[in-house]
């Protein structure tokens, strides 16, 4: 490789974004709607992981949990408490929905950290669908539960009357920006980290800076591990916050 040219960058091939390419798993045809692609494969793997942890891990129903069962219970308790604390008791009806999002994102993120893997959550198409579904669901729940009272979310009673229309405009804009920030935050974080790792990995081909490069990859990998969890947490907790707004629009 590039080592023969003694650090000349001419031989380096930067393809940091290639890891995000969606391609069919079998053959080389076009990507149709039901084509089995690497997206399918890694999402299926995420499903298997969720099933392994939460279904197979708890099949003993042990009073004194095994390790896997402990982790499953920990995940359950973590999300359950989050929903209870942020949304309140009446939000627990939506707990399975938030748990689904959290488990899918956390496993997709972690699976994406495996070398040569494909990170489904780094795609804006994926995160946008989740964010839009959250947005639509929350808005529908808000109107079903509160009727026109849901507009109270934008009409801030605590503010002086003069400011309220201006604040209402700002609130409406911020409300509609929610799905955008919600989805881009997750996809952007995942994509950026993976791309940076790939760039550093390419530099590792140069003998002189490869130790530094490997160190940097290690450091960023650690950071990415953290980010993987935190972004799943952020996505879930923001969903909870939006849900709370829908259930209790009177701030």
């Amino acid at each position: 490789m590039a080592t023969e040219t003694h650090g000349e960058e001419g031989g380096l091939a930067f393809h940091p974004m290639d890891q995000f390419i969606v391609k069919p798993l079998f053959g080389d045809g076009p990507v149709g709607i039901v084509t089995i692609t690497n997206v399918t494969f890694w999402m299926a793997l995420a499903v298997l992981c969720v099933v392994a942890l939460l279904v197979l891990g708890t099949r003993g129903r042990a009073l004194v949990p095994t390790r896997t069962q402990s982790i499953a219970e920990l995940a359950y308790g973590f999300v359950y408490r989050m929903v209870e604390d942020v949304v309140g008791k009446d939000g627990l009806r939506y707990f399975p929905y938030i748990m689904t999002l959290f488990m899918f994102i956390v496993f997709s993120n972690f699976l994406g950290l495996l070398p040569l893997s494909f990170t489904t959550t780094s795609h804006i198409a994926v995160t946008a669908v989740m964010a839009i579904v959250v947005f639509v669901t929350v808005t529908v729940i808000g109107f079903v539960k509160n009727g026109a009272g849901f507009f109270g979310l934008f009409w801030i009673q605590a503010a002086p009357l003069v400011l309220r229309p201006i604040l209402a405009i700002i609130e409406v804009i911020s409300y509609f920006v929610r799905p955008v920030s919600h989805s881009i935050r997750l996809a952007g974080n995942m994509m950026a980290g993976h791309a940076v790792i790939k760039v550093f990995a390419t530099f590792a081909a140069i003998v002189a800076i490869s130790p530094l490069s490997v160190l940097a990859i290690t450091a960023i990998y650690a950071l990415e591990t953290l980010v993987s969890f935190i972004q799943a947490y952020v996505f879930a907790i923001l969903t909870c916050v939006y849900l709370r707004d829908a259930l209790h629009p009177q701030h």
């Binding site: 930067f14 393809h15 499953a72 308790g77 399975p96 795609h123 198409a125």
Partner: protein, 178 residues
């Protein structure tokens, strides 16, 4: 740097777009599989996993609560047993004290009686001895008087003087008194 840029550009050209994320032709595929995935996870969680975990957690909570109650009960029992033990111990101590005191008193009485008996015996023996000593003393005085009288009459006789027995008696008695 320039080659780098061209490399990146050619890499991008290979993948036909700069960011695969913005390759809209793959969107339907991703959305379709995402929906399938989420539905599957949701069904698995809401039908199997979550009720099961909730059940396990509730069972554990119940077990913990009942165990704590049992522990409380056992603790109470232990405290009761200790109390009973303490009272039994105190009772036994009091009993032992009582028995000791009784034994002491009995022995004291016995000792007192023995001492009294011994004292009486000693007194009687002493009185008897005293009587005998008196008797002996009396006997001795009599003997001295006899000896003195006979010695005096012998001495007087040896001097060739004839003295009446009564005079000698009186002289001896006077001497012995003096």
């Amino acid at each position: 740097m320039a080659t780098e840029a061209t490399d990146a550009a050619s890499g991008a050209a290979e993948s036909s777009v700069g960011m695969p994320q913005l390759d809209f032709s793959t969107f339907p595929n991703q959305v379709f599989w995402l929906v399938v995935t989420l539905v599957v996870i949701y069904l698995v969680l809401s039908r199997v996993a979550l009720p099961r975990i909730a059940e396990v957690l509730a069972a554990r909570q119940g077990a913990i609560t009942s165990d704590i109650a049992t522990a409380e009960e056992l603790k109470q029992k232990a405290a009761n047993a200790e109390e009973a033990y303490e009272s039994a111990l105190a009772e036994a101590r009091a009993e032992a004290g009582r028995i000791t005191a009784a034994a002491k008193a009995e022995m004291q009485a016995e000792v007192d009686a023995a001492i009294e008996r011994a004292d009486a015996e000693i007194a009687s023996k002493a009185a008897e001895s005293e009587a005998r000593i008196d008797e002996i003393r009396k006997g001795a005085a009599e003997a001295v008087r006899d000896v003195a009288r006979s010695a005096a009459s012998d001495v007087v006789a040896a001097f060739g003087v004839k003295v009446e027995g009564a005079a000698i008696d009186a002289a001896v008695a006077a001497q012995m008194k003096g």
